[in-house]
Symmetry: C2
Subunit: 119 residues, 2 copies
DNA sequence: TCAAACCTTGACATCGGTGTGAAGGTCAAC
DNA sequence: GTTGACCTTCACACCGATGTCAAGGTTTGA
C-alpha cells in the first residue's frame, strides 16, 4: 500500500510517516516511480509506534527496542551488545515505573468520578 | 523550604519549578523578601507532576486532573462542571490505553531479556 | 565590608514531534 | 491531453518542555 492508505488506516499524517522513516523506525520499499510501498504489517507497526510515543518514549528509544518487540522469540545477535541489553533493561524498568504512576493516578481519577456520579 | 531545597529533594531544576508554577501546577507562598516558600507536601507533589509528565501528559492536562488526585475523596464543586468531568473520563481512558500499551511492550522486552540471559 | 551562596525576573536558545506549503513528478479518468 | 488526486523532497514554522545566561536583590559568614 502507498503512504496515503497507510496514513488513513493509522490516522497518522503522511508527514509523520516520513519522519518516522527518517528516524529509522520504519523502512519503506519503493515502487518503480519512487513512491513508498508498505505492506500490511506496517499498519500495526505504526500504531505500535504511535502508542509508544504517546506514553512518553522518544523515537530514539523506540528505535532501539523495536527489533526485540517484533519477534521477541528470536535473539538479534547483532543487536545484543552489552550496551543494548543494558538499555533494554533500564527502559523496561522505566516503563514499569510509568505503569505504576499511570495506574495510581488513573485509579484516583476513576475513584473521584465514581464519587461524583454517586452524588 | 525555599526553591533550592525543593529542587534538590525532587531532582528538578529550579527553572522547571518556576515553570510549573507559571503553568498553574503548583503555587508557592512568598517570604518577606520575595523568595518562594514551599511546604513539605510539595516534594511529593512535584514528584507526582514529573511522573505524569514522563508518561506523556501535558502540563495543561495535569493541571486539570491534579485537584481530584490530591484529595480524591472530596468533590470540588467549582471544578465539577460537565466539561471537566468529561475531560477526566476521557483522560482516564487514555491513561488506561497507555497502561495497556506500556505493559504489552514492557513484557515483550522482559521476555526478550529473559531469553537472552538463558542463552 | 566583602564574598559566596542563595534568591528574583526576564529573555533568548535548543530539541523533538508536528504542521504547512512550495515546486515538481506520476497516474487514472474523462 | 488536460485535470485532479496522488506521490516526491525540501524548508521553514510552531509548540511545549527544558537549558542557560544576564542583571540584580538578600542573607550568611569571614
Amino acid at each position: 500500500m502507498r503512504i496515503g492508505e497507510l496514513s488513513e488506516r493509522t490516522g497518522t499524517p503522511r508527514r509523520l510517516l516520513r519522519y518516522y522513516e527518517e528516524q529509522g523506525l520504519i523502512k519503506a520499499d519503493r515502487l518503480a516511480n519512487g513512491y513508498r510501498d508498505y505492506d500490511e504489517a506496517y499498519v500495526d507497526r505504526v500504531l505500535q509506534i504511535r502508542g509508544l510515543l504517546d506514553t512518553g518514549l522518544s523515537t530514539r528509544i523506540i528505535k532501539q527496542i523495536l527489533p526485540c518487540l517484533n519477534k521477541p522469540r528470536e535473539i538479534h545477535f547483532d543487536e545484543a551488545t552489552p550496551e543494548t541489553l543494558a538499555l533494554l533493561a533500564s527502559e523496561r524498568d522505566r516503563m514499569t515505573a510509568r505503569i505504576r504512576c499511570l495506574t495510581r493516578n488513573r485509579d484516583a481519577i476513576a475513584e473521584y468520578l465514581e464519587m461524583v456520579s454517586r452524588a
